[in-house]
Each structure stands twice: as C-alpha cells, then as structure tokens.
C-alpha cells in the first residue's frame, strides 16, 4: 500500500506511468512505450544517443529516438566490430573499426532498425525511430515513465522486438492533464529468441 501511495505521488501531471506485461502477466523488458498527440502535431526534440559495443554485445539492446536524432556506436571492446543495418528505415555499414566513429548516424525515418555486427553474429540491437518525442523504454520491472508531455489527448502504443502483430493493435487513448496518468499494456509476445554467444554451438563461433 505504501509503495502504491509513493508511486501515485510521484506521477505528476504531464507524465504517463506505463506498465507492460506479457500474456502471462510477467513484466516485459525492452518495450518502447510512446505517446503521440491526437492533435497530430508532435514537437521536434530530436537528440543524440549512444549504442555501445561492449563485451561483444550491443548496449542497450533497445533504443528509442525521435526521427531526426543522431546515434553513435562507440566500440568499447578490445576487438574490432563491423556494425550494419539493412532495415529500410536506416541502412548503414560501418566496416571494421575500433573506438568511436567520427560521425554519428542520422536516423531520420520512422520505423524499426535492426543493427547487427558482421563479425559477431549473435550481436543484435534495435532502434525504434518514432515521430513523437514522448517515449520511454521499460526496465526489467516492465515499467516506463514518459515525461514532459503537454496536457491533451494522446494515442499510446507499445513496441517490443518479440511483439506479435502491429503496435497499433494495442493502442490506447489517454488524457494527460492535472491528474496522474497510468496505463497498462498486456501484450502478446513471440517465444523469446535473442541470439547470444554460445561456446558450444556446433558450427563454431568464428568459422
């Protein structure tokens, strides 16, 4: 009860506290919750983000940005990496490099961008490029906090790499105003499959 009271007190006007669970009620991590003004006019607040190569994984696994944002992919590992995407929303190829690329990449087209490493096939990351600046990514507890929203009506959707169907299938409408806004999504996910380094893999990891 005390926790609920604290949570309610911290959800101020202009914020949405979202919770995402799967079909069994378990919290869903790495889900992007985003709110689009029903007026159709989202402010432009494009920023920059980083997706690091760290311990032969991309960190973070899921990144959300508004279209027009810049993302750099620093390599923090002692080995070289080769980041690429063949997704229609952003195609790029950064052959074999160490350190931080001089120029960040511009993500200017809304959509889902899948990033891989051509050296380490198990490395995978997703960028959710959105038209709206109001978004947040859920943590391990399935919760995310969207901040800085102007008062008004919003369509709220959720996307996750394992989501079955389109985000619009889970769309909810919400009014953000003087009272705390809470929203709960129960989404259908495909069975989990996130490639990882497998030393026992039959075909070897580097052949």
């Amino acid at each position: 009860m005390f926790a609920l009271l604290v949570l309610s007190a911290t959800v101020r006007a202009g914020e949405i506290a979202a919770t995402v669970t799967d079909q069994r009620g378990a919290p869903v991590e790495d889900a992007v919750v985003y709110a689009t003004p029903r007026s159709g006019k989202a402010p432009q607040r494009a920023q920059s983000a980083l997706i690091a190569h760290q311990n032969q994984q991309f960190v973070p696994y899921v990144t959300a940005v508004q279209a027009g944002s810049l993302i750099n992919l620093p390599n923090l590992d002692p080995v070289k990496h080769h980041a690429y995407s063949i997704s229609p929303a952003k195609k790029f190829d950064l052959p074999l490099y160490s350190g931080t690329p001089k120029e960040p990449l511009l993500f200017d087209k809304p959509g889902i961008v899948t990033i891989g490493c051509n050296i380490h096939d198990w490395m995978l990351a997703y960028v959710c490029v959105l038209e709206t600046p109001f978004f947040a990514v859920t943590g391990a507890d399935g919760r995310a906090q969207l901040r800085g929203l102007a008062a008004g009506a919003y369509d709220v959707e959720v996307w996750q790499p394992r989501l079955k169907g389109e985000p619009s299938a889970n769309r909810q409408q919400i009014i953000v105003g003087g009272i705390p806004a809470k929203i709960v999504f129960a989404v259908d996910l495909r069975p989990g499959f996130r490639p990882q380094r497998n030393p026992a893999a039959s075909n070897g990891m580097y052949r």
């Binding site: 070289k80 052959p95 074999l96 891989g116 096939d121 490639p195 380094r197 030393p199 026992a200 039959s202």
Partner: protein, 285 residues
C-alpha cells in the same frame, strides 16, 4: 614429430599463422573436455567380436581469425590444435595429436543470414600407444551454408580425408558428402542434426577365421589391441553417419554438448554399426 614432411607442413603453418596475426584479427582460445561411449570400438560386424569402450578426451585450440577485406566478406581463420584421447580399456587407441587448421570463408552479403562458402584444410600428427597407427591425418572440406530463418542454419559440403601411417593397414582415404542443420531452440540452446555418406577405406577388427573379409580386404594384419587374437582388415566401404546433438550455453564463455552418433558401415554382405554417445564441456575465452 617423426616425419620430415610434417616438419615442413608445421613450419608452413606457423608462417601462415604469423601472417594472419596482423591487424583486424581476433583471438580464438578454446578448451574442450569430453567423455564418450562407443558401442563398437572394434568396428566388428559379428556380435561376438564386438567390443565397447569409454574414452575421455581433452583439446585445446588456439588461433586467430582475420578479415582480408574491410567489409569482412572474406575471413581467414587459423588455429593450432592439440587433442588427446584416453580409452578406459583398450589403451592402444590412446593418442595425442597436434596440428593446424586453416579456413577461408566468403560471405555473400552482410550479417548472419548471408549465405557463405567455406574452404577448410587441416593437418594433424597423431601419436598412438600402438605405434602402427601413428601418422598424419589431413582433411579438406568445402562447405556452403545459409541461415534460412532466424533460428535455422543449413549447411552442405564435401570432405576429403587422408590418413598416412606407418603401415598400409591404417592408411585410409575417403570422400564424404554431408548435410547439417542447426536449430536454435532458445537463445542459449541449439539442436543439431547431420547426415553424412563416406566412401573410402575403413579398418575393421574381427576374430579369425574370416575368409569373407580376406576376400574383400585391401590388406590385413594380426593385432594385439584387444588382448585376444583379432585381425585388422583394411576395407573399401561405405559409411553412413547420423548425428544428433544438443548444445547448451551455460555462460557466454562456457557451454556443454550432448551428442548421439549412429555409424553404419557396409561392404558387400558385410556391415557393422556403432553407437557413440558423447558429452563435452567447451570453454571459449
């Protein structure tokens, strides 16, 4: 290291190794230990001659892979291998081998889903308790593969193998074709299946008299491997193998594998079958 030819091969391999330790290279450091049971270690075709055994093995692989072009379409992998195997009962099969493996892979595009062509060669010197089996084992392999969906990779290929020993009995050559499938059940669990067909020489041990085998054998020799009067026959035969495995990642550096292998070898009216069960722990740093 008793063969001058082998010294040349190893020296050449070392030079290649030095060449590939240039920029763009990543280290391969793999350790493996395994236990296996073979239901027919004597590869006999009669029930009464058939002998089974357990074996324990350990191997170390140390090498590098390097990208020959900036887009990593062409990758050269080179590794030095050290393997050992000890049998619980029939210790004449105990062996230690050392050698090198080199492979060149071309990937037709970007990412894990791009099809690839790999050419691989390996040369190993094997030292057995039974000195007659000592010799050079070499293998050449061509593989094509493609990850057809996120979780499934298919491969097909051809293998030429050659074993050159102190006696013509254990000299063997073979040509194989194979198909393999690897299915990622979860992020950390992989199932594999393989079928291969090999035509070439095999060595089968049987208790004499076996006039049927004498008529077919390229060469034969009495051996004292099993503590009983067996004769080893070198035969041209066809071997079919079916392999099923499960490979589980425990951490990002440690994995375990369990494998079942059915081998069936046929020549004219003579055939023998082996069932091999294997458990292995692999460490990759």
């Amino acid at each position: 290291m008793r063969s001058p030819k082998l010294h040349c091969i190893m020296l050449s391999a070392m030079l290649v190794f030095v060449a590939v330790t240039a920029a763009n290279a990543d280290w391969i450091r793999e350790f493996r230990t395994e236990a296996l049971y073979n239901s027919n270690v004597s590869r006999s075709n009669r029930d009464e001659d058939r002998l089974d055994d357990f074996a324990f093995g350990a191997s170390v692989r140390f090498g590098k892979f390097t990208h020959l072009d900036s887009a990593d379409k062409l990758r050269l992998t080179f590794a030095l291998d050290l393997d050992s195997q000890a049998f619980a009962e029939f210790d004449d099969f105990n062996n230690i081998s050392a050698g090198a493996t080199a492979s060149l892979r071309y990937r037709f595009g970007l990412g894990a889903s791009a099809p690839f062509l790999r050419v691989e060669g390996s040369v190993h010197w094997a030292d057995f308790n039974d000195e007659l089996q000592d010799g050079v084992r070499s293998q050449f392999e061509v593989v094509v593969g493609k990850r057809v969906v996120d979780r499934l990779e298919l491969q097909a290929g051809y293998v030429f193998d050659n074993t050159d020993t102190r006696t013509s009995l254990y000299d063997q050559q073979g040509h194989s074709v194979f198909v393999r499938a690897a299915f990622d059940v979860t992020s950390s669990t992989q199932l594999t299946a393989e079928y291969s067909l090999r035509r070439g020489e095999v060595v089968s041990y049987n208790v004499p008299p076996r006039p049927d085998l004498i008529a077919l054998a390229n060469t034969r020799l009495e051996v004292d491997i099993f503590g009983a009067p067996y004769v080893a026959y070198n035969l041209d035969a066809t071997t079919q193998r079916g392999v099923f495995g499960i490979h589980q990642a425990i951490t990002r550096n440690v994995g375990v594998s369990f494998r079942y292998e059915l081998q069936s070898t046929t020549r004219s009216q003579i055939d023998y079958t082996s069932h091999v069960f294997l458990a292995a722990i692999q460490i990759s740093l």
